[in-house]
Symmetry: C2
Subunit: 291 residues, 2 copies
């Protein structure tokens, strides 16, 4: 998808927030903001892909501030909370008496992981509330049955993750996919970008215990940017039967170019432009298969 | 006052809103956003004055979109509502039995005018609610008694207005100032900028019926920018005994340079940077004399 006019506000606001996280030096902050404005002036056009601009922005922030991973501590905090909540959610999923039901609920769990903001403290996450959210969060689009039918035994699935914290919830769905007989390669980002999960986060939540393999995109891009991914990732992508793509960044990029592969998007449409592009209300939870 | 880092977000958001108001042409909108980003990249620095950046931004929007007055209809709507509400407020002020009490209440009315967003429909403004707001809106700083003492008979007061709509409330205070024996020159903006009141708006609310004279700043700047005002305005400013300055734009500029004149600021500190500069909480109503 391409940017809407309003994306420029979000691109700047998230940039300023990232710059503040990256450095306490006010002079450097102003310099980084100025460089970011220059970047946006150059790159913001009706043909731009928002996630691509996000990648350029995050690279600029890391370079100007000299901080290689501004969201490091957010990711740690998110993983800790994510693991704690996911272990409860997994118990609920395990209580279902068929793998088909476990799959449907695990899809909801993965979307729920995209909904929860793990890096914001003070949420109430009692087991009752979690189970209620898991069972009652309305899916505005629910293609989970079609996705289930697309997964035969031995199916090669590439599961592209989104954020740290959330990745603990992804592990539940990856486990059920493996249980269904699929061979799941989980792909995290190849380098720090925003609070997106990297290899460190995948290992922290034990993703390697359930997935057939854990790989990376080979780059620090938001989403799946085929101009930046590694040869290894591209080969894995092209050799897969189904792509599972979590979150908005993966949607923004893969909706532009998915190399003819079927993609199952699992996300919450947190902003107007993504929601409009999918055709749902802002804030909608979506399990959408594009074949 | 100078910008804070966070001002860049507001400068862009208000710019995008103005660009949307100014033109329906999406291509022109993107071009204007890009030019605005360039402008901010060039001008946004710790030494910049936010209102000055606002002036440059509004000039750019008018130029790129070819719309000389993007807020024209907002101003008309605001004046219509402002006049209706101000006539009720004026009756409440008139019921006070001394000119001193009328002055104190008229100061509050002027601040209330700065608080109300006249261009946003759907507010409830019953007479009861208006009178309640007038009497109970807390002033975090209230120098109205000191201001009263500064106004002798024949005192020359320059009253610099802020927005359309609000100007109908200013008229009440201007009337009481004249009643106190002051000679009030009311200065509106010399050309369209944001929803700030211009000569047309002053005449629309009948300001010329109560003020000794109505003049303009001679320019389309936000606030009082001594590099841009006309000779006529500057002379009037320098020949005045007291400046009354409404709203944040006038505060942002005059707090940088007030040419040694005593200034009475009447405003609501609607944003963090202005509130911090004054030393009050965000959202505070203020009647502040700086001598």
């Amino acid at each position: 998808m391409k940017v809407s006019l309003e994306c420029v506000e979000c691109l700047l606001i998230r940039g300023v927030a990232g710059i503040k996280r990256a450095t306490d030096n006010n002079e450097v902050r102003f310099r980084a903001v100025s460089k970011l404005l220059e970047l946006l002036a150059r790159e913001f056009s009706p043909e731009a892909v928002p996630a691509r601009l996000g990648t350029l922005r995050e690279r600029l922030i890391k370079e100007v501030t000299g901080n290689p991973d501004p969201y490091f501590s957010d990711k740690k905090r998110s993983n800790a909370l994510g693991k704690r909540l996911a272990s409860q959610v997994e118990e609920v999923v395990r209580q279902e008496d068929s793998v088909e039901k476990r799959f449907a609920l695990a899809c909801r769990a993965a979307v729920l992981g995209n909904l929860i903001e793990f890096d914001i403290p003070g949420h109430d996450f009692s087991l009752e509330k979690l189970e209620h959210m898991l069972r009652n969060t309305k899916l505005s689009i629910d293609d989970s049955e079609r996705i289930l039918r697309a997964i035969g035994p031995g199916a090669k699935v590439l599961y592209v993750t989104d954020n740290a914290g959330e990745i603990a919830f992804d592990k539940i769905l990856v486990g059920v996919l493996e249980e269904l007989g699929a061979k799941v390669a989980v792909a995290v980002r190849g380098g720090p970008v925003l609070n997106d999960a990297t290899l460190e986060d995948a290992l922290e939540v034990g993703m390697d215990e359930v997935a057939t393999e854990v790989i990376t995109t080979g780059c620090d891009a938001v989403g799946v940017d085929f101009e930046l991914v590694s040869k290894e990732f591209l080969d894995k992508y092209l050799g897969s039967d189904l792509i599972v793509a979590k979150g908005m960044g993966n949607y923004e990029t893969l909706s532009e170019e998915r190399m003819g592969k079927p993609v199952a998007y699992l996300l919450v449409a947190k902003c107007g432009p993504v929601a409009r592009h999918i055709g749902v209300e802002r804030g909608s939870a979506v399990v959408k298969l594009v074949e």
